[in-house]
């Protein structure tokens, strides 16, 4: 496989000393590794660097960053623990992994919070310098786990990370605190040794990252190399692992998170539509990064407006849309709740708009940094009166790119607000993403009305039912629109009973009609059989992962993953009939399942997990077994 790989960086695997010393090197299929420590320990950077390196090497992978709601809780405490998990493999990877093979725990609090996920006999690297009395107390531990045999079931490597890092950096001229900040790179170096990975990409990254702070470049490089050499020299590990590249479909790849992919998707949509992109947003976790990303793309003519609140954010987007922009607004649950009145206005005036709700744990402020899928019903019904809108959901970080394009296409073609439901897990998780060429992107035709002849603001396109997009500044098209009920065609204010019924039904029909413009669904796995799993959003990974072993066990299982939640794919009802049972795993109390039951009168069963965490593959498997027993 290696020969097939062209790496832009042109780095080469360095021959390691372990080869020379003849220590054991085992080729395995996959590994899951989790870095955890205090928020101040740089675990997110460490994890990202490791991810980047394995991605460049050609492994398939999935990541799961998990950080506390506090910016920086007190050092060493349980709420301050931050983690980053990578699952990388020579096969396809669908989840960040249920349990971990290697756990790096920088302090007792991190160990306490994460140990339960380490596999029996898994590798456990801890910074033994940080297990002093005071450290233990901060983590609310009385006896050191390094001493009470509680870690006997694991391959424990208690390494004096602090001391060793300081020793490595003694000549750099940094103070103790700054030196200690490099100990995550010592740990990273160890992991590179353990998985026979080149340090090259990280070295390059350090050069770039700290280009104005050469001392830090040197220090971190030294720390990483020291970690690497430590494994080499001390024979700490008697074995190292090799995970060959994966057989991904050919193409150019990059690693991408869901939020970055959404941002990129909207830039692409605006380019394809040849109209300016406008984002009106108010920061909120975990959606803020879309605002941050898009605010960097001024060279694409993107206008990003940080509004005074969510209501102003969506309102400004409606104003921009009225004026001919591809207008979007991004938020999470609490902000979504505030936008609903204005979304209703967009429904009434029939303007395109894309609303992204990056779901998080709730209700209310809830669990701001944790994931959940519990805003589906809010997206579908959380507006006064009958105000139907299309709802789409990406199923992986990379899919966010495509969903952004598709939502934009639908919004513009049908003159309708569209809601995208992503979640914290997709938003921050990353996966290798095959980069499309521009030619592969869908066209998004835009027609601004310009002809005053016979122009009427609610004269509909007979096939889409869309009204014309007649933007201010167009001579002869002066007209008035508003949120009061209006006569169809003319748009004049109208309170007549039958007109109202007509308008309510027309707005609904327009959205229903989109079912003809989206693909029919084809189940993964068995096309009919004992069980159909219907799901949406970020549960895609664990369900896909569970499908293979379960089908290999002889179960006849299909999997339908809905990217369109409203309208539903037009053949969904037929598909549902082909299976004996239907299971709907969701990170909520059963929202999609309610829709399916109501619409198709099928006895679909809900499997809800509401823990701020994605499903594990094993949980899905267990549920399948339970149902098919």
């Amino acid at each position: 496989m290696l020969s097939n790989l062209h790496r832009e960086g042109q780095f080469v695997m360095s021959t390691t000393i372990s080869d020379i010393l003849g220590r054991k090197k085992e080729t395995i299929d996959k590994a899951v590794i989790r870095f955890c420590g205090d928020s101040g320990d740089g675990m997110q950077i460490t994890g990202s660097q490791f991810t980047n390196t394995v991605a460049l090497y050609g492994n398939d992978l999935a990541t799961f960053p998990d950080y506390p709601a506090e910016i920086r809780a007190p050092a060493g405490t349980l709420p301050g623990v931050s983690g980053f998990q990578v699952h990388f493999s020579s096969s396809n990877v669908y989840t960040p992994g249920d349990s971990v093979d290697v756990l790096i725990a920088m302090n007792p609090a991190a160990l306490k919070m994460n140990l339960s996920d380490l596999k029996t006999n898994g590798i456990l690297i801890v910074n033994s310098d940080d297990f002093k009395e005071t450290d233990l107390r901060k983590a609310q531990i009385t006896v050191s786990p390094l001493e009470d045999h509680s870690l006997d079931g694991y391959r424990l490597f208690a390494v004096e990370l602090t001391k060793l890092t300081r020793a490595a950096l003694k000549d750099v001229g940094l103070d103790a605190k700054s030196m200690d900040r490099c100990k995550n790179f010592f740990a990273l170096g160890m992991c590179y040794w353990l998985y026979n990975r080149s340090m090259e990409p990280t070295l390059r990254w350090l050069d770039d990252k700290f280009k104005n702070k050469p001392q830090l470049v040197i220090a971190n490089k030294l720390a990483m190399q020291a970690g690497y050499s430590f494994c080499e020299a001390t024979e700490a590990f008697q074995i190292s692992y090799e995970i060959p590249p994966a057989k991904l479909s050919p193409g150019v790849y990059r690693n991408i998170s869901g939020n970055a992919a959404l941002a990129l998707g909207f830039v692409a949509a605006s380019q394809q539509a040849r109209i300016p992109l406008f984002l009106g947003s108010y920061p909120i976790t975990p959606a803020s990064d879309i605002l941050h990303e898009l605010s960097m793309y001024k060279d694409f003519g993107v206008t990003t407006f940080q509004a005074e609140d969510e209501i102003a954010a969506v309102s400004s987007a409606i104003g921009a849309s009225y004026t001919g922009a591809l207008a979007i607004t991004t938020t999470s649950g609490p902000g979504m709740a505030l936008k609903t009145e204005a979304i209703g206005l967009a429904v009434a005036v029939e303007l395109p708009l894309v609303v992204c709700d990056i779901q998080r744990g709730g209700p209310s402020t809830g669990l701001p940094t944790k994931t959940e899928q519990a805003d589906l019903l809010q997206a579908l019904y959380g507006r006064n009166s009958e105000a139907p809108v299309p709802v789409l959901a990406p199923s992986s970080p990379g899919d966010c790119f495509w969903i952004a394009l598709e939502a934009s296409r639908i919004a513009i073609k049908y003159m309708v607000p569209v809601i995208i439901l992503s979640d914290g897990y997709l938003a921050n998780g990353a996966e290798p993403w095959k980069i499309p060429t521009v030619a592969e992107l869908p066209q998004i035709p835009v027609h601004f009305e310009t002809d005053p002849e016979g122009f009427l603001p609610y004269k509909r396109n007979p096939s889409t039912l869309a009204r014309p997009w007649a933007i201010p500044g167009t001579p002869g098209l002066e007209h008035r629109v508003g949120g009061i009920e209006k006569q169809d065609v003319t748009g004049n204010i109208n309170y007549e009973p039958l007109n109202h019924e007509h308008m309510v039904r027309t707005r609904a029909e327009k959205v229903e009609g989109i079912a003809q413009d989206i693909p029919e669904i084809v189940p993964e796995g068995d096309p009919s059989g004992d069980l159909l799993i219907v799901a949406w959003g970020s549960t895609h990974g664990p369900i896909t992962a569970a499908m293979k072993p379960m089908r290999e066990k002889g179960h006849r299982i299909g999997h339908v993953h809905l990217r369109y939640l409203n309208p539903l794919p037009r053949n969904l009802g037929d598909i549902l009939k082909r299976y004996k049972k239907i299971l709907v795993p969701e990170m909520n109390m059963g929202q999609l399942v309610m829709i399916l039951r109501a619409k198709f009168l099928v006895d679909a069963e809900s499997y809800g997990k509401i823990q701020g965490k994605p499903f594990k593959q094993s949980e899905i498997e267990a549920k399948i077994e339970e149902l098919l027993d």
Partner: protein
Amino acid sequence: MTTATLPVYTKKDFQTDQEIRWCPGCGDYAILAAVQAVFAELGVPREKFVFISGIGCSSRFPYYMNTFGFHTIHGRAPAIATGVKLIRPDLDVWVATGDGDSLSIGGNHTIHMLRRNVGLKVLMFNNKIYGLTKGQYSPTSEVGKKAKSTPFGSVDRPFSPLSLALGSEATFIARSVDVFQQHLKETLRKAAAHQGSAYIEILQNCNIFNDGAWETITEKEARSEQVVQLEHGKPLIFGKNRDKGIRLVGLDLEVVALGNGITEKDLLVHDEHDPNPVYAFALSRMDSMPGFPTPIGVLRALQGVPRFEDLMQQQIRDVIAKKGKGDLAKLLRAGDTWELKA
């Protein structure tokens, strides 16, 4: 935009065929007439005018203006209009709003619009009442107001809309009156000419739910005694016989009778361009000070503050000038990438 091709408009060109649904006698009619007349003079192509409103009697305004019009939701007009301006700074965007729409539910958007100096002209119809919902007191109603929701009288102090605007860094504030047609038109012209947010409080009579709210100002007798008309560069004089004036004592204003040694020279001279908002703030307090006349006209027209929408577009142009126009293919492949051959 070549003025050569600009059609010559009359007031009629700005009228629509929609039935006007205000109560007979409502002050809104006069405001509509003034706006239609002034729009015809401004030398702006009709399609470049956009009227955006919230909800309220006053917010029905766009339906009666033959321009682009958007009747939105309660209180959000400034935010929606900001979106319009950010995409098309060349449009001439006006906001019609009421004391409830702008200062109650819409307070936050109003103050932020002013802070940002978004190039919007805001006509705030102040009738000191919620008209459309049939007569509840508003944030500009006087203390003790007996209205539908306050049968025993309201207890909260009102905003001075223009003080609030100044506290929000407004660059242009003005006050006029529905029935003072010439003055109103002149004020509208000045607002139209201002670069940036223009906040115009229009004292408007709701003859159904708050009739006579501005009587002390609009009654023939009262006009000259209770009103001081601000004119740039002129001293603050008022009174039927133009025999009274306003002067400064420390930071306080004082009403003085001219004569007996007091001359025009002792009076404050109106400077709408004063960069220090303290002067305009002092003026904005006058109407709530017993014994003082209500100032009408332009209290402040600070020049040279760039508009939000221009700065935002300039930033885009600057980045493009520096980096070149974005290339989508490049953007997609940005950062670390790797290729997998077939």
